[in-house]
Subunit: 329 residues, 3 copies
């Protein structure tokens, strides 16, 4: 650590931090802000250790975000709601409550629900009949769990997420779309986080399954019978159609769409807005519509913009070969 | 039916079903699972009747999903909530309740609402002033109906759907965007299903209208004054901009976007992620951005990947005609 | 004004308006409806003043939508809920209530919340600890404000919007994605409107900020630390990734995606479904994936469809130069 030894009371971005605040430089894009920053201290990596301009303390680490993940809970301790059941909560029959749980105002807990210890259920959250929540599960306000949903320990569900919803299944008969009853399960693993207003359908038959430590952003749609492998990352507004199997460690960028009944290999990455219409091998970065290996997509895009030049070259060849005659299509 | 006569207590996928479970083979992709399945019985079509390997009973039908639609409600009877008004429900003035309806905890029913018979209103659902719900309508938890929405008999609305929302209408005047009051209606037909967290705007003036037996998936957006024709299918995360008219029997795949003030002909299909920027004739399959007839889109995509080859051929022509000289753009 | 002097009791579209209703012609697409309209009066611009066929009164204005914005509130006066706190609302400690506010059934107001005058809080809406709402703010039903959110005067938030949600921030360590605490703020300016089921994340460190008079449609996602400049328009289902700065007067069309850490210049426009992967200069219209100036995108699209013709021309050149030999790639 260089510079004077500051008192730190908060964390703020480089351009807003004051003397009693810690800041961080994680992206070279913000170097100019670093040089002018008035932060008391800045966390940075060895490559920026010697940058000039900034006069406060420098805390050199190998991974800025990891350092923040350790420091932030110290400076901003998490405030979980106090244990206890709000008098307005409606608790069904044969509900099994763990120890030290908090159930907020107007929560509705259905019959035969089983809650682990240290569970938090936010205000207005509805937990359907027969759901099972592991230790330390945190459901924010206004969540809906349809009946029979299982959520593993320590998982977090943000406001407005709907889990275990009926899937989109119909047959056309007698001149109408007829609903196929959606009777399967919906199993969410441990250490998962599910974003606000995300929807996850239950299985039609069998289950929709989200593995361990999967992170799902806001407004994502996951169809019936989808399986998402451990530690996959699903960015905002992704849609995954029914029965598709997402491997482990997969990353789907924002607004990616994946068709139904596909297999996406382990550690595949699809860049934002990609459209996946076929199985993808693991360990490869894809992009585009339809999604292809990223390098191919880039080349195809580049070629598209070379076309006017090619047309000119063809015209020159035609002039040389056929005389003035040009054969425009 | 072949094999022994099994006792069936549930339905499960081929790879998970046990002796007392029924399964089904609806997609040849899962033939390998069929061969190894330990299900007590499998529903399948004549084309797979003679497949080897599976030793349980085979139930041969012409349409597997239709058979499931008939069988599932027998094995898994639907459990509608008991009739009655939960004591915590807030009921407005001059509300007209039908017979045999169920109103859940913390539901809020506005003044002058009219409900048909056999209606289910889930917990926390808010029904705005003057709404009208037909017989057998089922609103799940946490739905919001803005004032004046009409919903036809037997329609189902999933958790978090917002219906009759103010449309997105502004005029720029005096240096600001000024809100144009959205005073129109929102009319949903009979036998419709609306997915979780879907939003349907009311008309600005006039009405937004969803026809009979339309099926709408999760996280769909339907703008003000849109009309959706009978029996159309709108898959998850589709967006339809204001005043567009969708014909009858149209299918919009997942994440499709349709611009405003367009007409989409009857039985048109737009594949997933398509972007529709002009009117579409009915009865045709479209895809791509911007959406074109699917065959054209496929050819354009294929051509894009032929470009490197074309460049080589042009170079060879140039070498033959002009000597070593190549005219790269 | 021409024609007889009608009594007007409502506003309706051209094809539905009757004698006692006002209508309007804002889009030449609907001229045929105008000619046959039975409306008592029609608002239109000078260019359509002389159109034949319609026999009712004509009200000629320079901007039809602006005229509607003035007329609609007269014919359909806004009905704000009556002032008062519903007995079922749960109000925390040290809450500061303004005058003339309305708090609906089952609303939950956290500790230390400060409300201005004339605030409306809809039923079931949850306002987290320490939030601050300016005068005239209108939160519809079932909104969630996470703790510490600030909303400027006169802003409107529609049902199901989630504001101040934890951003999507993780570090990978010890074989797992670890959550980076999201401790920043979320500041919404005055005269903003936020659509139904939209999600806006709080800052990780620092704040997410939405400027004055920004209009945000339904199902939009705004990531952590994003800044949206004054008077920008964000259409339905747009996604904006973390730390991106959107300038003033920007328009993002429906389903547009913008990557993280970018800068979008003032008055830039991105057409529907565009994918933005780099900084954009202001004052320009962009489209496509990846987004480029609209004219370039159109030309690239057009060229794609010229390719089959180019292939033929190359084949003709090859036949002339090399004889029958064609070198297909």
């Amino acid at each position: 650590m260089g510079g004077t030894d500051p008192v730190i009371r908060g964390v703020a971005p480089l351009d807003r931090a004051g003397e009693e605040e810690l800041s961080f430089l994680a992206n070279p894009r913000y170097l100019a802000y670093f040089r002018d920053s008035r932060a008391g201290a800045v966390i940075l990596t060895p490559e920026h250790e010697a940058e000039e301009g900034f006069s406060g303390a420098r805390i050199v680490v190998s991974d800025v975000h990891l350092a923040l993940a350790h420091i932030l809970p110290v400076i901003y301790p998490e405030s979980r709601p106090k244990a206890g059941i709000h008098p307005t909560a409606v608790i069904g029959e044969e509900v099994q409550l763990g120890e030290n749980s908090s159930i907020g105002p107007y929560a509705v807990i259905g019959d035969r629900v089983r809650l682990g210890d240290d569970v938090v259920i936010g205000s207005h959250t509805v937990v359907g009949e027969g759901c099972e929540l592991g230790d330390g599960v945190y459901l924010h306000s206004q969540v809906t769990l349809y009946p029979g949903v299982q959520i593993g320990p320590r998982s977090i569900v943000h406001s407005g997420a709907r889990i275990g919803v009926d899937g989109f299944g119909y047959v056309f008969a007698d001149g109408m779309h007829q609903k196929v009853p959606q009777v399967g399960g919906c199993i969410i693993g441990p250490d998962v986080e599910i974003g606000a207003n995300t929807t996850i359908d239950r299985g039609s038959v069998g289950s929709t399954e989200v593995g361990e430590n999967v992170k799902i952003d806001n407004l994502v749609h996951i169809g019936h019978n989808v399986e998402v492998g451990d530690r996959s990352i699903i960015v905002a507004q992704v849609g995954i159609a029914g029965s598709t199997v997402i491997g482990r460690g997969v990353t789907l960028g924002g607004q990616v769409g994946v068709s139904g009944h596909l297999e996406i290999g382990d550690r595949a990455t699809v860049a934002a807005q990609g459209g996946v219409f076929g199985d993808l091998e693991g360990g490869v970065v894809y992009s585009g519509y339809p999604a292809r290996p990223h390098r191919e997509s880039l080349r195809a895009q580049a070629n598209l913009f070379r076309l006017p030049g090619l047309v000119k070259r063809i015209r020159a060849l035609e002039a040389a070969l056929f005389g003035g005659e040009t054969r425009e299509e």
